[in-house]
Symmetry: C2
Subunit: 299 residues, 2 copies
Amino acid sequence: MSFDLNRYINERCELIDGRLKMAMPDENELPFSLHKSMRYSTFAGGKRLRPILLLAACDAVGGDLSAALPAACAMEMVHTYSLIHDDLPAMDNDDFRRGNPTNHKVFGDAVAILAGDALLTQAFILLSSPFYSSNVPSDRILDVIHEIAYAAGSRGMVGGQVVDMESEGCHDIDLPTVQYIHTHKTGALIKASVKSGAILGGGDERQIAALNRYGEAIGLAFQIADDILDVVGTTDQLGKDAGSDQARGKATYPSVLGLNESRRTAAEFIEIALESISELDEKADPLREIAKYILNRKS
Amino acid sequence: MSFDLNRYINERCELIDGRLKMAMPDENELPFSLHKSMRYSTFAGGKRLRPILLLAACDAVGGDLSAALPAACAMEMVHTYSLIHDDLPAMDNDDFRRGNPTNHKVFGDAVAILAGDALLTQAFILLSSPFYSSNVPSDRILDVIHEIAYAAGSRGMVGGQVVDMESEGCHDIDLPTVQYIHTHKTGALIKASVKSGAILGGGDERQIAALNRYGEAIGLAFQIADDILDVVGTTDQLGKDAGSDQARGKATYPSVLGLNESRRTAAEFIEIALESISELDEKADPLREIAKYILNRKS
């Protein structure tokens, strides 16, 4: 059997984008600028890694996709809000993302801040919608809301972002600090995506624990691969300035461990990820392929 | 029987503050700056109107306070996040709130943005905590998460904030625009507080609908009273610059209707609020006293 990862990802992206479009206020609804701004960043060419992982984890435990799709979209909203706020002049001050002007360059700082706020909130509107809980047990949905909120909060993504920012330009960043930043800033949301999919799919405790370990490992591998790409990729491939981490004195794996050791570490985490789900059957194959892809991606 | 509103409010504030302190990461937990910043604004002398209303609505339907207290704290977190973001230089650019330097003046813009983000997220962490759902039916909690998220999102508070901002300095603001701003920016969260208390207290449909109307009416009365205070209050009483709305060309009731007509409208909404809950027994008396207080407050 040959599994076509590209085709799989494209199909899932279509499914996710279709549901995302329904899950957000229309651009013609007041306030126009806010809703335009929310949609602008949500449909700006994101890879949909988190929702794809969430759906794949639901598949892996034999769950029904319709139980996972709203949470997958909510996860992408949380991710998108974090990018809008990260790019603000008060934070990373980035003018471009994925080749397009960043949200605040198009809509101004105030609307960008509020669009981020509204996207984060919209995730919880979607997760708690009466339609959703009429189809999926309320306890599972509450579990997932907790997973996502915890991963996004001060002990997760936002905490990682603060330490990342405060470490910028420091010359003596050590490995534990880089690990803290990566597990929190990127890792937490990726791990929560996989775990949420497993919960919503009705996985048993053992399956949920296995997928949680998988999510933790690929979250780290993903971020290390990202750091490596920032060093060796071209600006064209990345849609943002290559070498921008280095120029800013960002805390990264290559800056602490060097390129080769970083590559070895990423590969090791992918091994751990694959090992974690070795007891799951072929329904987990997409997760296996995604893990390998993360290691070898070029953009 | 004489009801001592001051004493009642002080007791409830103590209860709320005690629970809020437990519900947030400690200042000695990493990242220190973030957690300090979150606590700084949460404990900066807020009146706790929203959580007090939420608890009082729970009381009014004969509910158990412990079922409502986490949601009351979550509501205050959402309110606090909105103030931190409103005060940012990119938004209202305020240096003082309640007589103290605003969050970004103490912690910088970046940490202030992230502290707001983390407080909003913390509200949902608290609402979805396993401890909470072991004591209150999951369906009720999900209902309340939906109420709060909807009220805070792009069709509620954030939407109101965008229109408020975009109306600033316009000379021909009409009454419907002022009404939109007030029902969304302040009204939505106040209404959701009352309704959430009624849901968590186990109120029946009729009681929840009555309290929803009460919440809607006092939300509007509160904001009109606020607008009036900005014109007639002194800077000392307000803890911020009196007349600041006018100086900024903000859309307010007095600027559209004049002072006398605004006073009459506020009183009318208080009448509607009292009328809405006329069928509730004496357990709703605190709500009745709070309504009267809102009309007559001096700060």
